[in-house]
Amino acid sequence: MTRPAYAPGDGVLALDQPHLRALVDRAAGRPVDPGVARALDDAGLLAEGGVDPPVGPIVAALGGAGRRLRLTSRRRGALTVATAAVGRSGAALVVLAPGGGALHVRYLSLGGLARHLARRVGVGRLAEGGGAGPPATAEVAAWGDLVRAFGTRSPSGWAAAWREAELHELRWVAEPGAPARTALVTAVLDGHLVEVGPGDGGRYVVAPADPVGVWARVRRCVSGGPGLCGGPPPPPPGRGAGPGTG
């Protein structure tokens, strides 16, 4: 296990899955392994009778029944998973960086979470010089083919033609344990934002995205819930955002 890192003044909270679960358990009054509790206490995460106050909204959101969003981001050979749990006044965001290791945890306003997710899915790249000359529409035969192009560091598959490529899938559940649905699939190809949607015969279509439309849908998924996401592509089979905390 990794020792937790906690610096509330700098917005730093990094810890592994067992410590994060223990933190949520402690806030809920459930018993916690003494060794884990000691590590949490040493890091300054515990206070008498509960958790350090700045951590309170985070563990309340993670232990609550609010909706979850999970953004799976693939770069070539690198996978990042960001899971958000929506609480009363904001949302806890838990990011598992490529290579595993520590979970990085933040608490954001709902708008802050939406902007964070929007940046990750590729909105805002216009400001970095992308956007001009959108790539042509392409078709990909199956979800596996879409994902496989990001399995190694070498350019391959449908995304081989682009120097820089990312694939992002945003899924949500209305509450922990509920079935997960895909709300949005985007890719960023040499700085150009494209959206992946359903095509004929189970194929997927990759086409230039409307960034305002993508932003509005991300925002609605954060604040509105399932019925407002509107027209999501069919979810890849057998995968869900799950009820966990990270």
């Binding site: 708008g111 802050g112 939406a114 929007a118 909105v123 216009l126 400001a127 509005a216 925002r219 609605r220």
Partner: protein, 148 residues
């Protein structure tokens, strides 16, 4: 939050003396500028509001687009530049950001007026109303035209 009708007016903008003149529906109020801020009378929220301003510079084209993006990133809270377009000679930018503790999306339209400077129309909508107002905000800023 109040429900208001969509934009149904055309603005009359910079007059001969260089002052900004905007025609708005009768139930809207205009606060003293600059910048001129117009919002529906009795509106309880921060937005939507139409802000009209004139900047003295004469930047245009790609330079104007770059300046608008740079200003948004430098001046707004936690900004995400969602979109930048150049319809005709204008520059239109859509930015999601934090404003006075409220999460909003702002649409801004910039037009170079030559020696008279740059005409700016800005409309912000709270993100909670984004579904109904994102398109309306873009129509608002596009409908306010310079007539002089």
């Amino acid at each position: 939050m109040n429900a208001i009708a969509g934009p149904a007016w055309a603005a009359r903008a910079v007059d001969a003396a260089g002052d900004v003149v905007v025609d708005l529906p009768g139930d809207w109020v205009v606060e003293v500028g600059p910048p001129t801020v117009a919002r529906p009378a009795g509106w309880s929220g921060v937005a939507p509001a139409v802000v009209v301003a004139v900047e003295p510079d004469v930047v245009r084209g790609d330079d104007l687009a770059a300046a608008v993006v740079g200003a948004a990133l430098a001046r707004l809270g936690d900004p995400v530049v969602v979109d930048v377009r150049c319809p005709g000679d204008d520059v239109e930018i859509v930015v999601a950001h934090r404003h006075w503790g409220v999460d909003v999306t702002t649409v801004e339209r910039h037009r170079c007026l030559g020696p008279r400077g740059r005409w700016i129309v800005s409309c912000s909508v709270p993100d909670t109303d984004l579904a109904g107002w994102a398109g309306a905000a873009q129509r608002i800023v596009a409908s306010l035209v310079v007539v002089s």
